[in-house]
């Protein structure tokens, strides 16, 4: 795990949390959208909160795809859940809202779960190319090697060589 990869995971967390909260803030201003009034969606997108929320969620999607290109799904997903913790902390310390004991327990559980996963290897799957048969015998070594970035990139064929510099 390099610093840049931690930065990508942080992006997954922050963009998801910020995007979601901006969307919900904006949607509360625009009001309910029903199936009979689908034009409401267009009005909703014109709301600046909703628009910024959509941009942030696109940034989330980009960093999520980035993370999934070098880490397991079960490694990246807990990072997305850290966004809930972030939102609760923002609510408590920036907006000075009340956070109930049960919610603090929820924060502790999510943080604990993230800690559990973060201490293990980021990549354990061996599905870089479909042509490689899955070999369970190498599974143990993989985590260590993959973290150094050694074997995974070796067999990535370069497409569209025309743009190669």
């Amino acid at each position: 795990m390099t610093f840049r990869k931690y930065l990508v995971l942080a992006g997954v967390t922050v963009f998801a949390a910020a995007g979601d909260s901006m969307l919900s803030h904006g949607m509360k201003q625009t009001g309910k959208i029903s199936l009979h009034h689908l034009q409401g969606i267009i009005l909703a997108v014109l709301n600046p909160w909703v628009a910024v929320g959509i941009v942030l969620l696109l940034a989330f999607f980009a960093s999520y795809m980035n993370a999934l290109s070098w880490a397991d799904l079960t490694y990246v997903l807990p990072a997305t859940s850290l966004g809930y913790v972030l939102l609760a902390l923002v609510a408590r310390f920036a907006l000075h809202e009340q956070v109930s004991p049960l919610r603090w327990l929820g924060i502790a559980l999510i943080s604990g779960g993230v800690g559990f996963v973060a201490r293990g290897p980021a990549l354990t799957s061996k599905e870089y190319s479909e042509s490689l048969p899955f070999d369970s015998g190498q599974g143990k070594l993989l985590g260590k090697n993959a973290r150094n970035g050694a074997p995974a990139e070796e067999d990535v064929p370069v497409v569209s060589s025309g743009v190669r510099r």
């Binding site: 079960t74 779960g113 559990f116 996963v117 354990t124 497409v159």
Partner: protein, 126 residues
């Protein structure tokens, strides 16, 4: 009966988002480490490789289906039930699906994490 509808909706949301997550994860594993690819072949190679991957499109489609079914489920059931139930069941479902379809080594550490996160999401929404 209304309860059955709500839970049916929740299950549809969970199913669609698990399918979407697995397909997107598989697509990005096929694309390979994007930092490495970017460094070697440039940004255009990254973009064209992702957009040229059929699993990526199937995954995005499944995610869109999950999003819209969530909207419907939210209009049938209580927000305080539907949103946390769908989110936490998706975490559990993804752990199973990642093990079965992506051959990830979901060891005890990751199972515990999935359960902790799922429980935490329920508590935070409550």
């Amino acid at each position: 009966m209304k309860n059955a509808h709500t839970w049916g909706g929740i299950l549809v949301v969970v199913f669609a988002s698990v399918v979407g997550d697995v397909l997107l994860a598989r697509a990005m594993k096929q694309v390979g480490d994007v930092h490495e690819l970017w460094r070697r072949a440039g940004a255009w190679a990254v973009v064209s490789r992702i957009l040229g991957n059929p699993n990526f499109f199937l995954g995005v489609t499944a995610m869109a289906a999950a999003f819209f079914s969530l909207l419907f489920a939210l209009s049938w059931g209580e927000v305080s039930l539907v949103a946390p139930a769908a989110a936490s069941l998706t975490f559990i479902g993804n752990a199973f699906a990642a093990k079965i379809f992506l051959h990830e080594k979901v060891d005890r550490r990751r199972w515990i994490a999935a359960v902790l996160v799922a429980a935490g999401v329920v508590l935070l929404a409550g």
